[in-house]
Amino acid sequence: MRLVAEGLSAKRGEDLIFQDISFEIPRGEALVVKGPNGSGKSTLLRVLAGLLPAETGTAKLVAAAQPVERLGEACHYLGHRNAMKRELTVDENLVFWKAFFGDFSGGAGISVDEAVESVGLRGIVHLPFGYLSAGQQRRMAMAKLLVAWRPVWILDEPTAALDASAEAMFAGLVTTHLARGGIAIAATHQPLGLEGVRELRMTGFAGVGEAVW
C-alpha cells in the first residue's frame, strides 16, 4: 500500500496556492510538510482529505486492501478544530465518532477506554468536553484517531496547543500507527519527535498562475 500524489495544484479563491506537487509514501512511513505561513500546507492537506478539489493532479491509495473511491474515506483528518461537541461528555463524543466512522478494512480501532488511556487522560471521560482545557481537548481529539481504524492520518498542526510531554505522547501514537502499517502526513512547525521521516518543503507562492482576468 502506497499513497501516491502526482502533479497536485490547488487554488484558494482565484490564487494558485501551490503547483505541481508530487510525492509517494510507502506503508509505515510518515511525511512531514514544512514551510512558512501561507505556503499552502493546510490547503495541501485538505486537498488530500478530499475537502477541497484539486485544480490539477491526483492523489490515490495504491494497492490498498480494498479499492478506494475517494482518498478521504481512508483518512483520519485532524484539523485545527477538534470536531467534538462541548455539550456532550468526552465519552459520548468518542462513542459517537467510533460508531459513525466504522473501521476501514485492514484494521480495527481500539475501545474508547483504551484510546483515552493511551492519550493519558483516564478518569475524566464522564466530563463534558467543554470543561477540559485546550490541551486536554486536543488530546481527546487525538483519541478520536484511535477509536476507528484508518490507514492514513492527515494531521494539520497536531501539537499546536500541547506541552512537551504531550508532544512526546503524540509522537508515540504516530509511531505505533506507522508500526501497524499506517501512513501519516503532518503539517507542522515544531519537530514532531519522529525518526526517519520524509520531508516535503513548501516554498510558498511557487508558481503564480496566469491570471484569468
Binding site: L51, R81, E87, L88, W97, F100
Partner: protein, 219 residues
C-alpha cells in the same frame, strides 16, 4: 447513522439546545395575533388554521441555520464530509433529528393553540394532521438553504429569506386541506395527498441539494 441521530437529539435537549425555543416562538407568535386583530372569537376561529400554519412555518425556520453551522464551527462538518456513508444520507438523518427535536413539538403544541383560537374539534384535528404531514417538508427544503448559507457570517436571516419562498407550496396545500376539512363542499383528501407528495419530494430534493451545497462550500 443511528449514532448520528442519537447525538443530534441529545445535543438538542442539552443546555443551549434549540428544542424548546422553536415551540416557544410558535406559542408567542400565535399568542400576539389576537392583539392585532382583536378578540372576536368568530374571526379568530376563521383565521385560526392559517395563523397556526404561518406560526409553525416561521418557528420551524428558526433553528435551521444552526443545522450545519454548528457542525462547521467545531470542525465536525469536515469529518462528516469525508466518510464513506453517502453525504445525502447523513444530511437526511440530520434533518430527521432536527424535525423530531423542533418540528414535532410544534405539532404537539398546535392543538393547544387551536383552543386559544377558538377552533372546533374538526379544525384542530385537521390542522394537527396537516402540520404533521407538512413540517418535515419545511425542514427538508430548509436544509438546502441552511447548507447554502453555512459559510456566511450572518447566515441565520438569509436562510429564512431563501427558504420562505420555497416553502410556499407547503403552506398553500396545508392550509387549503384544513379549510377543505372544515367547509363541506371541498374534499379534504386531494390537497392532503398533494401535501404528502410534496413532503416526499422534498425529502429527496432537500438532502441532495444540501449535500451538493456542502461539498461546494467546503474550504
Amino acid at each position: 447513522m443511528i449514532a448520528l441521530l442519537a447525538r443530534d437529539l441529545k445535543l438538542s435537549v442539552r443546555a443551549g439546545g434549540g428544542a424548546l425555543i422553536g415551540v416557544l416562538f410558535f406559542m408567542t407568535v400565535v399568542a400576539v395575533i389576537p392583539f392585532g386583530v382583536g378578540p372576536d372569537l368568530n374571526l379568530l376561529s376563521r383565521i385560526g388554521p392559517a395563523i397556526l400554519w404561518i406560526g409553525a412555518l416561521l418557528a420551524s425556520l428558526l433553528g435551521l441555520d444552526r443545522l450545519f453551522q454548528a457542525e462547521r464551527e467545531d470542525g465536525s462538518l469536515d469529518l462528516l464530509l469525508m466518510q464513506e456513508t453517502p453525504l445525502v444520507l447523513t444530511v437526511f438523518v440530520k434533518c430527521v433529528a432536527h424535525w423530531v427535536a423542533t418540528g414535532l413539538p410544534l405539532v404537539i403544541a398546535s392543538p393547544l393553540l387551536g383552543l386559544f383560537m377558538n377552533m372546533d374539534e374538526v379544525a384542530i384535528g385537521a390542522t394537527t394532521l396537516t402540520l404533521l404531514a407538512g413540517t418535515p417538508a419545511i425542514t427538508f427544503i430548509g436544509a438546502a438553504g441552511a447548507a447554502i448559507a453555512v459559510a456566511l457570517p450572518r447566515g441565520g436571516l438569509l436562510v429564512s429569506i431563501l427558504v420562505l419562498p420555497l416553502a410556499i407550496p407547503v403552506l398553500i396545500f396545508g392550509v387549503s386541506a384544513v379549510y377543505a376539512a372544515i367547509q363541506d363542499p371541498a374534499p379534504f383528501l386531494p390537497p392532503f395527498l398533494i401535501l404528502i407528495a410534496i413532503n416526499l419530494f422534498f425529502a429527496v430534493l432537500g438532502p441532495v441539494a444540501a449535500a451538493a451545497a456542502l461539498r461546494l462550500s467546503s474550504d
